[in-house]
């Protein structure tokens, strides 16, 4: 495998253990050789993601009938109901990344530190994997059957005197309800991707902190928090992206009555009503990528701030 072989043969840099010393190679070649290790990855990404992405980006600027360059798709995609869709989708994604992020962190930690929880851990990791990919019509139906107007939980709650719809102002089919349903796959996703990070918390540190009289709060503020923060932020970013592009669940629950970008894309690329406007869908897809690119900038700034906290 090229990547594994490359480190072994890399020319002599003193920080490279196990490498055969090779002197006098010009630094440009050296750098190029070092980069060779990631070539397979970049080639795969270029072919598997880059080419399709370019095809989509090109389509976004094309007139679907003539193939000529046009900005009309972009213009449609950034105004009116589609602009509104981006905003609402961003709102929903923000809520359904922060809330499951924190909950997932707590749950993951609870699982991780359970003393005799071998089976619990195994069940959790597999259940999380299963639920993280569960969605769409079946998930929507699960919640309709539970918290719909005639759902089983609704009935139980009404029996004890509290009807969530009339007394609690709850509605499964508005943004709050959809967010509640999104938690069903966002929380397991968070648990699964944050779990490996907990191994970075050495138990020795906790013991040392206790021995020095640090309270739990101090431990988390000065040790646990900074160690986990980079991974936590990374997981939040992933959750945001996942919520941003989720489509089938919201579609089944709301039938488009809440403007969400992914649903709008579905109407163009995968629909029975709007014929011949696929390229607006591609323009919307391009918009999603740009939004994430902007988010990545914020994410990088946040990481830098968190790293400073680590000092």
């Amino acid at each position: 495998m090229t990547a594994k072989a490359a480190p072994a043969a890399a020319p002599g840099s003193t920080s490279d253990p196990g490498a055969s010393p090779r002197r006098g190679l010009p630094s440009v070649l050296h750098r190029a050789w070092t980069l060779a290790g990631v070539v397979p990855f970049f080639v795969y990404v270029l072919l598997g993601l880059g080419l399709p992405a370019i095809a989509i980006a090109v389509g976004a600027f094309q007139n679907p009938d003539t193939g000529k360059f046009t900005l009309s798709n972009i213009s449609i995609a950034t105004h009116g109901i589609y602009l509104h869709g981006f905003i609402i989708t961003a709102e929903l994604s923000l809520i359904t990344s922060i809330v499951p992020g924190i909950l997932g962190l707590l749950i993951g930690y609870a699982i991780f530190t359970a003393r005799r929880g071998a089976l619990l851990r195994r069940v959790t990791i597999t259940a999380s994997g299963t639920f993280a990919n569960f969605g769409g019509v079946p998930l929507a139906f699960l919640f309709i059957a539970t918290l719909g107007t005639t759902g089983i939980a609704t009935r139980w709650l009404t029996d004890i005197g509290f009807n969530p719809y009339t007394d609690g102002g709850f509605n499964l089919y508005d943004l709050g309800g959809v967010a509640l349903v999104y938690l069903y796959f966002q929380i397991p996703l968070m648990v699964l991707i944050i779990l490996p990070a907990f191994e970075g918390l050495r138990p020795a540190w906790r013991e040392a902190a206790q021995n020095m009289g640090a309270s739990t709060w101090h431990y988390w503020r000065y040790i646990g928090g900074p160690v986990l923060m980079p991974s936590f932020l990374g997981c939040l970013l992933l959750l945001f992206g996942s919520a941003f592009s989720a489509y089938a669940t919201a579609e089944a629950l709301t039938s488009g009555t809440i403007p969400l970008t992914a649903i709008q894309i579905g109407s163009f690329l995968n629909g029975n009503v709007l014929a011949g406007q696929q390229n607006v869908g591609k323009a919307l897809g391009l918009g999603m990528v740009l939004i994430i690119a902007v988010l990545m900038v914020f994410y990088a700034l946040l990481q830098r701030r968190a790293a400073r906290w680590l000092q």
């Binding site: 139906f141 309709i144 059957a145 005639t150 629950l253 995968n270």
Partner: protein
């Protein structure tokens, strides 16, 4: 070293699996000799095959038919496909049954040249027109071409309407004690949290048509769909509208006892599993639409594609659609010839008096654009 052994084992197993898989993956070559395939691909009527027998023989040489987006319980397609296979011995591959008309166009374009590309299409008329503009369709006139009304087919024979129905109100009579008969009725408080449509009107043509029908019932017209959107807004305000995508599951579980959908789908998909389900065409808004058939220009099985169309437009095919509670396009001819399946015809919900008006392309595009812009204001 256990980890190393594990990796070797995994690699070996995957290697074997992949090797087995690769060798058994479907072949890419087109079946049948190129000469006869080329002739079939440009045939514009059964005469090019020297008659029905020639067509059947050419199709049998091909052996398979690729259809797309045809659910088994949609307009009786399950039985239609079974009957076709039994009659001619041709295997039918039904891909992506829940797919949309846009999926059909995409499949034609992206799978061009593959043996699993679709042969025949059943899609919304607007999409058929689009596909024709993109040069994806092959013109063909079935034997009963003259029985199809002139405004229901393309002048160049690239597409032709097949079956359709009315927007109807279906309700589960075991849960809905007072039967609704019109869109106006549905606003009554007794129907709180009970009314739903089948999907998103910017995406699902059944839902779009429901909005169109409600527009007609509320002072709108084929060129003005806005009253329909306002109607659903009102329906939501009084608390009767459930935004869920309705279907047999939501009806059986009691979540959406009232569904506004195509009459034939209410019958084949819901009534078939909910015996107490009743269907009525609303008195104040009549809207009907027909789907369209077409043959792909790059069909891998061109002879079978044409045989399929001949079959669908034969008396047998049309009556099978009728048995699926859909209205076949040649219904009037069947009735006047006396070849119609009388029981099936009688079982249809009574068609409203007065002729059918279909929106023009321009009217429909304008309506679609309006719905796309305003549908999300129904709730928010």
């Amino acid at each position: 070293m256990p980890t190393r052994k594990l990796f070797i084992a995994v690699a070996a197993v995957s290697g074997m699996v992949l090797a087995a898989g690769c060798s058994s993956s479907s072949s890419n070559g087109s079946s049948g000799s190129t000469a006869s395939t080329a002739k079939a691909a440009t045939a514009t009527s059964v005469a090019a095959f020297g008659g029905m027998n020639g067509l059947v023989a050419a199709c049998k040489k091909e052996g398979t038919l690729n259809v797309i987006t045809l659910p088994a319980n949609w307009a009786n397609y399950g039985n239609i496909m079974k009957d076709f296979t039994a009659k001619y011995g041709i295997k039918i591959n039904d891909a992506n049954p829940d797919g949309s008309s846009q999926d059909e166009i995409n499949a034609m374009q992206q799978l061009k040249g593959q043996s699993r590309a679709p042969d025949v299409l059943d899609m919304g008329t607007a999409f058929a027109i689009k596909a024709d503009q993109l040069g994806l369709l092959a013109p063909y006139k079935v034997t009963t071409w003259s029985a199809i009304p002139a405004n229901s087919k393309a002048s160049d024979a690239s597409w032709y309407d097949d079956y359709g129905g009315y927007v109807a109100i279906g309700y589960d009579s075991s849960k809905v004690k007072v039967p609704p008969t019109s869109f106006k009725d549905l606003l009554k408080p007794i129907y709180k949290n009970q009314v739903a449509i089948n999907g998103n009107p910017t995406q699902a043509s059944a839902a779009f048509s429901a909005v169109y029908a409600s527009a007609l019932a509320n002072g709108g017209s084929l060129s003005n769909i806005e009253p329909g959107i306002l109607y659903f807004k009102k329906l939501h305000q009084v608390g009767n509208f459930v935004p869920v995508t309705a279907g047999p599951t939501t009806v059986q579980s009691g979540q959406t006892p009232i569904v506004v959908w195509w009459d034939y789908l209410l019958a084949s998909e819901i009534q078939s599993v909910v015996p107490s389900f009743k269907i009525v065409i609303p008195t104040d808004g009549h809207y009907a639409a027909y789907y369209s058939q077409a043959i792909s220009k790059t069909a891998p099985d061109p002879a079978c594609a044409r045989l399929w169309e001949e079959y669908l437009y034969s008396t047998t095919g049309q009556n099978l659609w009728l048995q699926g509670k859909a209205r076949p396009i040649e219904l009037q001819t069947l009735i006047s010839n006396g070849t119609v399946d009388k029981t099936a015809n009688a079982a249809l919900p009574a068609a409203p008096a007065g002729g059918l008006n279909f929106p023009t392309q321009a009217q429909e595009s304008a309506a679609e654009a309006k719905v796309a812009q305003q549908w999300s204001s129904v709730i928010g």
